[in-house]
């Protein structure tokens, strides 16, 4: 452990390092609560809810069809897929697919997402850079190459200073990245302060606009249901049960009153 070659004023520690930590953390918490306040109410119609439930029911039928008798399965499949009056064939919904440009609520959602996440980080980073400039803030414990110097030592004009001594702006960004996972400790899951999750959601958000087009979803579900075949998994269930040792201890309680007589 080599002795650090610079000795910094304790005031820096008290008035720069700690405030930056607090500022970063509190801004994150504020951002979480602001995002909760600004959440626009998603209006769902009854028809949308019932449509999504129908799709779920059809999917469950496909996945678990093998546990009901063949007759029951065919009956349900017939209800959905019949040529003349099956549910998926008959219902055509009037659908206007909302694109990000035309649908106002989606546009404001995107704007709110961008504003509450990226903008404060840039603003506060700039402010911190302006306020706490011109001195060395702390030393990172690992050696860095000289290429990082202009990035990490923004206000300091020393050519021979080791690249490990960083300025306050880089300490701020280190805080932003490091506290990201701490937010899920403190604010619980699904918190609005975690930027990385939101950016991931924005990238996969294009896939989530699909449910608006229910006609396509119905058609896809119809095809999938057509393809599924009934293979009864319970075919030899009587022999299996009888061939095993039946362990009935504790299955019936003696105190259970009979409700019939």
């Amino acid at each position: 452990m080599a002795e650090p070659e610079l000795l910094l004023d304790s005031n820096i520690r008290l008035w720069v390092v700690l405030p930056i930590v607090f500022i970063t953390f509190l801004v994150g918490v504020i951002r979480h609560y602001v995002s909760i306040l600004l959440q626009s109410d998603k209006k769902l119609t009854l028809e949308q809810v019932s449509d999504s439930q129908v799709l779920i029911r059809s999917r469950i039928l496909r996945e678990n069809g093998k546990y009901i008798p063949k007759q029951s399965f065919l009956m349900r499949k017939f209800y959905f897929n019949n040529q003349e009056d099956g549910f998926f064939k008959q219902t055509k919904r009037k659908v206007v697919p909302p694109s990000p440009m035309t649908d106002p609520s989606m546009l404001t959602d995107m704007m709110k997402g961008n504003v509450t996440n990226v903008l404060p980080m840039i603003l506060i980073g700039g402010w911190i850079n302006w306020t706490f400039s011109g001195f060395v803030t702390t030393k990172v414990p690992f050696p860095l190459t000289l290429r990082f110097k202009p990035m990490l030592q923004q206000g300091i004009e020393l050519l021979s200073l080791d690249a490990s001594w960083v300025s306050s702006a880089s300490w701020y960004f280190l805080n932003v990245f490091g506290l990201r996972s701490m937010y899920s400790l403190i604010l619980g899951q699904d918190n609005g302060a975690d930027q990385s999750r939101i950016m991931q959601e924005q990238m996969s958000g294009a896939a989530m606009a699909m449910p608006a087009d229910t006609n396509k979803a119905f058609k896809a579900e119809w095809e999938a249901l057509e393809l599924t075949d009934h293979q009864w998994a319970l075919e030899s269930v009587e022999e299996d049960l009888m061939s095993r040792e039946l362990d009935l201890d504790g299955m019936f309680s003696k105190e259970l009153p009979s409700g019939i007589f």
Binding site: L6, T138, V140, P143, R180, S181, L185
Partner: protein
């Protein structure tokens, strides 16, 4: 950790809520460990490569402890054991570096 899977012959029934809850618990453990080990590394004054090796060792120890805790019936709660090893490593690394730098600065620079 909530048991999520009823093991039968055939497809398994998986409760989404429980999977997310278990992942949250893992995340919690890993973040706490990263914070504490970062603080330890800062106080001890580890620099450079030693610091990163310390993080890898502590992450590995956490994985071992999690596997011990999950026990024989781990497939009741997790789809694969790899998740116990590698879940949240990079996020934990950032937290580790933050706490490491912070305490190193507190203790050794000032």
């Amino acid at each position: 950790m909530a048991g999520v899977v009823a093991k039968r012959e055939g497809p398994q029934f998986i409760s989404e809520v429980s999977v997310r809850g278990n992942a949250a618990v893992l995340d919690y453990c890993r973040t706490s460990l990263s914070a504490l080990s970062g603080a330890t590394a800062g106080i001890l004054g580890l620099t450079g490569l030693y610091g990163f090796i310390f993080y890898l060792i502590s992450a590995f120890l956490l994985s071992l402890l999690l596997i011990l805790k999950a026990g024989r019936r781990w497939n009741k709660c997790f789809k694969s054991r790899r998740l116990l090893f590698t879940g949240g490593l990079v996020g934990g690394l950032f937290t580790y570096v933050l706490f490491w730098t912070f305490l190193y600065g507190m203790v050794h620079v000032y």
